[in-house]
Symmetry: C2
Subunit: 434 residues, 2 copies
């Protein structure tokens, strides 16, 4: 038995805000802006509308804000709606240590509970950061087997992080945090076989809502098996966990969340290293390109290597298409660049036919090597690894630009100011509605 | 790939009430009475109070009744509360084909949706029966491996049955029913490692609530992966399913639900065959007993063979204790017979020391052989198998007696009259509150 629950519970209950490094806090703030921008921009996606409508039809106590509505709902419902909505565009942050989307699972839970409990902005941000860190650590403990067999780490690991963020905001001690993890262990779920359907973003909502529910019940005396993950027949045994001790290394001192990736292209994260590598080559006229070779990790071959998609959604999972888009001057950061019409464009179809994708298990999952052969036989090469540190100022500028492109100048600046000043959760909540 | 989802979806959407055999309907009505009695009697158990309080604090649209409160709540919340409440005493029905508690997962979903949709009593009963049958078939398809690794069939298989009951009541066609199963596949969860905690009954609530949620969303256009169970990386692949084709044999013609077991002793179902065998021996003075030998299936050795429990809860999982209770004249059908005081009683302790439990893999899981050696060296032997058919009149009399002991004459007769007349779901809902 590899112990994890008591360690994460103590981490959640006892970490002092003063001991959190400034870099981790700053990264959380960037993720908060990124998350809010994705959610506001995604509020009219079908999964968001349908989930929100169910919650609004149920109604209930006015505890927390929603994306896409001026109304307030119970925290558990708001977490469900906001999780599904902020992941609807699949444009939110990703952590590759476990391959999951931490912000969309944890932040909706933390914000809804913070609004319900009347927490301060600082308490909210600390709890969200701790919950996110715990979700990534949980995902690392579950390991690649868990992901490969078909569990969606965003939903499964995410539920444990959401539960701890909620439990901390409710003032639960280490035993209470462990009990919350114990209860959420019987509730956490989410399958990768939903990818390509509304089920994928919905999974993020499940994680957030499950976390709020578990903490709320435990705060009222609910008794579950507190060895959530490592118990015999616990979440680990049943969910193909690798139970990696190394997942907890340095917890409380090192924040693995600091190596989170943000999306600067509105497509599958597996394509981003290739796009960054292409961007580093500067301006290349498309009509001078003979062919393009991409070398990537085998993991992505079944994820985002559709050779000739015909829909905007398919384009977001196609090396060939996004490479052709890039070299033909389409803005891969814009949501509306990916369309059915684009997929039918003869120039795009001609160029993407000349993109060849190879896999190599020796390359990092976060890296891609790009070779562009010009018609004059010149070869241009570039490699990009998303895991390479990006100066925080560069990242901040890129996230601000993304938020501005999604929300406009005024709204993005308003949210960024609130996030930087750790504004009251009620104020931040209000801003979720466009 | 062993196909199941389209078959169960078509079963749910197209089965005609007129084609359902009278025996299945009659058994459903007995289970309805049994379910209502367990829920009303369990309404003040801690898991029921805590879950109900969370739901009442959230509030919302007045759609469906709850056990233990005169208020109405949204159907999704009512299903959660009523599932957890009706399983709180662990006194509800069990099906041994998959080892699950079908009524507590499916009936709360069916009743809440029927109340919300204004369905007739006949529509409600048909949907509940179909959902229950589908949950057992799903559990049989998932198989013993799924249960043995640690999944709680009541919660997992139960969610699929609850989803189909809800989908049928909402008028979804076969494609809609399949989509509902697809969505609930990413939501269904529940671990056996919660046994012995409030998490166990809560799992039944999860199943019911997940079913209502999935059908409600799909009726509004939600798109999930409709190959819920058998998809690559679907619920089967990820949840250690055996994917047994035989599970679907005769569906729509044979109703496996008809072999459901009802509890006539307020303890673990693994102890019931031994108690029935003991009952068949007639009146034996305890002071003339030398020793008692029990032979049971190995499955039960880790479930209900606590040799010397000290609590009322522990007594419910102890062959020795319930045998001693029976021969000492304690009524094993009464909830209050199982107490900490009883466990400390010298006469009980002396007799239970003389109970020996052996396992034999050749015996059915539902059967027990009992040998009582008298001090005069006479040997009395009896065998009971819970799977042996019980005449419906006998079963009805036993369930009426159980309901009367839990609720009193008037209340149990009132509910039985409503159930027999397929009363309006709103009327039945009102009766959930004592």
């Amino acid at each position: 038995m590899s112990e994890i629950t008591p360690i994460l519970a103590a981490f959640a209950a006892t970490t002092k805000a003063a001991d959190i490094p400034a870099g981790a806090t700053q990264m959380l703030r960037l993720s908060l802006l990124d998350w809010a921008a994705c959610g506001i921009a995604g509020a009219e996606e079908p999964v968001a509308r349908i989930t929100r409508q169910m919650a609004l039809d149920e109604g209930g106590a006015a505890q927390a804000n929603l994306f896409g509505s001026p109304l307030h709902l119970p925290a558990r419902a708001a977490a469900l709606v906001n999780g599904a909505t902020s992941h609807a565009l699949d444009y939110d942050d990703t952590h590759f240590a476990h391959i999951g989307h931490p912000s969309v699972a944890v932040i909706p839970a933390a914000l809804a509970v913070a609004q319900r409990q009347g927490s301060t902005g600082a308490e909210f941000q600390t709890a969200a950061l701790i919950g996110i860190e715990a979700s990534i650590r949980t995902g690392m403990w579950l390991g690649r087997d868990h992901y490969q067999i078909g569990f969606h780490q965003t939903a499964t690991a995410g539920a444990f992080g959401a539960a701890l963020a909620a439990a901390r905001l409710m003032g639960l001690d280490a035993a209470g945090c462990a009990m919350t993890m114990g209860l959420v262990a019987t509730r956490a779920s989410g399958l990768k076989s939903q990818f390509g359907t509304m089920g994928k973003p919905f999974n993020a909502g499940l994680a957030a809502s499950n976390g709020v529910e578990a903490a709320t019940l435990v705060a009222s005396g609910f008794v579950a098996n507190p060895l959530a993950l490592e118990a015999a027949q616990g979440f680990g045994d049943t969910h193909s966990a690798e139970e990696l001790n190394s997942a907890l290394q340095g917890i409380g001192k090192e924040w693995v969340f600091e190596s989170v990736s943000h999306k600067f292209h509105a497509c599958c994260h597996g394509l981003h290293a290739a796009l960054e590598a292409a961007g580093s080559l500067g301006n290349i006229p498309a009509d001078r390109i003979d062919s393009i070779q991409i070398t990537t990790h085998p993991r992505w071959m079944s994820v985002c290597n559709q050779p000739s998609p015909t829909t905007g959604l398919g384009a977001k999972f196609s090396y060939g298409t996004v490479m052709a888009m890039h070299f033909l001057g389409h803005d891969t950061a814009r949501l509306d660049s990916y369309s059915d019409a684009l997929c039918a464009d003869p120039a795009l179809k001609a160029l993407r036919q000349r993109v060849q994708v190879n896999d190599d298990p020796r390359i990092a999952e976060t890296a891609t090597i790009l070779s562009v052969k010009m018609i004059d036989s010149n070869m241009l090469q570039a490699k990009h690894d998303l895991d390479e540190p990006m100066p925080i100022a560069t990242r901040q500028a890129k996230i601000m630009a993304k938020a501005t492109s999604l929300l406009g100048d005024e709204k993005s600046a308003h949210i960024w100011a609130m996030v930087q000043n750790a504004a009251d959760p009620a104020e931040l909540g209000k801003a979720l509605h466009r």
